[in-house]
């Protein structure tokens, strides 16, 4: 498998839409990146590039006001 970008993935499409919308509405703007916001969750929101669970959602907005989100942050190993 070619490990390309994006390197993190939500579990499914409906969750991706819900998390992305919510993280843009409630997330904290990142220092020095006014078009990027992040929101921390208590539950895993998706899988990171090393195969671990991630608990943050990062959302980017472009100049056409389109938003794009992905799981972010440190990865927790997932038990087999």
């Amino acid at each position: 498998v070619k490990q390309g970008k994006p390197t993190s993935a939500f579990y499914d499409a409906p969750q991706a839409i819900r998390y992305t919308t919510e993280a843009w509405q409630r997330g904290t703007p990142m220092k020095g990146r006014p078009n990027v916001r992040e929101l921390q969750y208590d539950v895993a929101v998706g899988i990171g590039p090393k195969g671990g669970a991630q608990y943050k959602v990062r959302v980017h907005r472009n100049e056409r006001n389109q938003i794009h989100g992905h799981p972010a942050g440190p990865e927790d190993p997932i038990s087999p």
Partner: protein
Amino acid sequence: MSHPLHADPTSLTLQLRNAYGSFEEPCYDFLERVRGQQPYAKLEAELRQRYEIVDTTDFNTDSALILGIESGSEVVTLMLSLAAIAAILCRPGTDHLCLVEKATTATEQSVVSLLTEHAVPQLSAPLLSLSSGITNIQGDGELTFFQALFSDSGDPPKPCVSEFGK
């Protein structure tokens, strides 16, 4: 990663191809490997001595180290490419970043002089918007130099406009 960029578009595309190993954007492993080599270690160390630094790099979208540099209430954003030795300095606006072409504040001037000292070239706005010849790994289009070198989060930053018009 040992040489600074020669900033003409054809040469840039070839340098990117050599760095990435193909005409596709870099994979996660490539970026992790280059970050591990710490190509900007000395520059970063000097920045950290002078300022509060917030690293917001995320390889889901970024091909560069993206550093928020804080000095009092001022924040500037420095992007240091991991595909070549090249940088851009940006100023956060309300919604988007703009490209600092002429450093006006003391912080901007100090960061620009550190870039010069460490032989890290700053790329210009027109160049950032040109097509790079590198394709998106997901197969949905060709990247601009900004996207290939720095980040595909959002659009290439436009030059900052000061109260004096430029």
